[in-house]
Amino acid sequence: MNILLGVGGSELSYQALEETLDRAQATGDNLTVAIFDNEEVSADADEIRDRVEETLAETDFDAAIRRLEGDSPGSELVSLAEREEFDRIVLGGGERSTLGKIQLGAIVEFVLLNSQTPVTLIR
């Protein structure tokens, strides 16, 4: 299976990266990591790329890294998945407030509602 994982620099997006790597190692899936700027998080694409590359090196797993440009990372992710016929989009999300309520960010919500490709949300 060809997996497209979106990483926008939130803690949950890095958790999703680790879980997806574990799973891809077990299943032999092909993984592409799409990096984007999430305006809800204070990290730029270069920092995110560094951290993704570090994690890939630690796990000794080979994955392609892509950079999504533009103001609508959710839309870019959905388009890329359709254009290159990925089998599944994976995203981390569902931040909890101190009180404990889960909220989905704007990018996750866009992808869930607009993707024709199956989506896995890792919480």
Partner: protein
């Protein structure tokens, strides 16, 4: 991210303790609560219908409920409970976020919903907040939860963000 608040502060809200009669003619006390009320609040959440959860809370397993109560009954939080015949049947909480603003949540047991207890809980919690000097209170609610949205609006909350699955509302005290 900065959250919007109404320019004008709300009027005075009633403060605990109060005794109200709900629309089913049940006498209900609305009381301030804290960690000392842990057991009776836990009791309520143990009998809470999982189908009535919203946005991931309350948790369903007992250890998870206990962890959650440690947070929402903990330091710097404000809580009120609705008590009927010695049992907690409703609970409303204010928990500080990282910006010194307070997030509100409320839960009422199924058998006591739709009888005005929620409105009394929220109003009394906001009264307690006024007496403690709190100024900014916000909440999120699922867009399709019409009774809750109507309740918050009636109490004086204004919608500040309605573009996602959850509506965000706020009030200035």
């Amino acid at each position: 991210m900065t959250r919007d608040y109404p320019d004008e502060p709300a009027d005075e809200f009633p403060r605990p303790p109060r005794t109200v009669t709900d629309r089913e003619d049940r006498d209900v006390e609305i009381l301030a609560a804290d960690m000392a009320d842990y057991d009776s609040v836990l009791e309520m959440y143990l009998s809470f219908d999982p189908a009535d959860r919203a946005q991931g809370i309350p948790p369903t397993r007992e250890p998870a409920i206990e962890d959650w109560l440690d947070t929402i009954l903990g330091e710097d939080t404000l809580n009120v409970v609705a008590v009927h015949e010695g049992s907690v049947v409703g609970h409303a909480t204010l928990v500080p976020d990282r910006h010194g603003e307070y997030e509100l949540a409320i839960f009422v047991l199924q058998a006591f919903q739709g009888a005005g207890i929620g409105t009394n809980l929220v109003e009394t919690l906001l009264g307690l907040a006024q007496s403690a000097g709190l100024e900014k209170v916000w909440l999120t609610v699922e867009r399709w939860n019409d009774p809750a949205v109507a309740l918050y609006r009636k109490v004086g909350f204004e919608t500040t963000e309605a573009e996602s699955f959850e509506i965000e509302m706020s009030i200035r005290l």
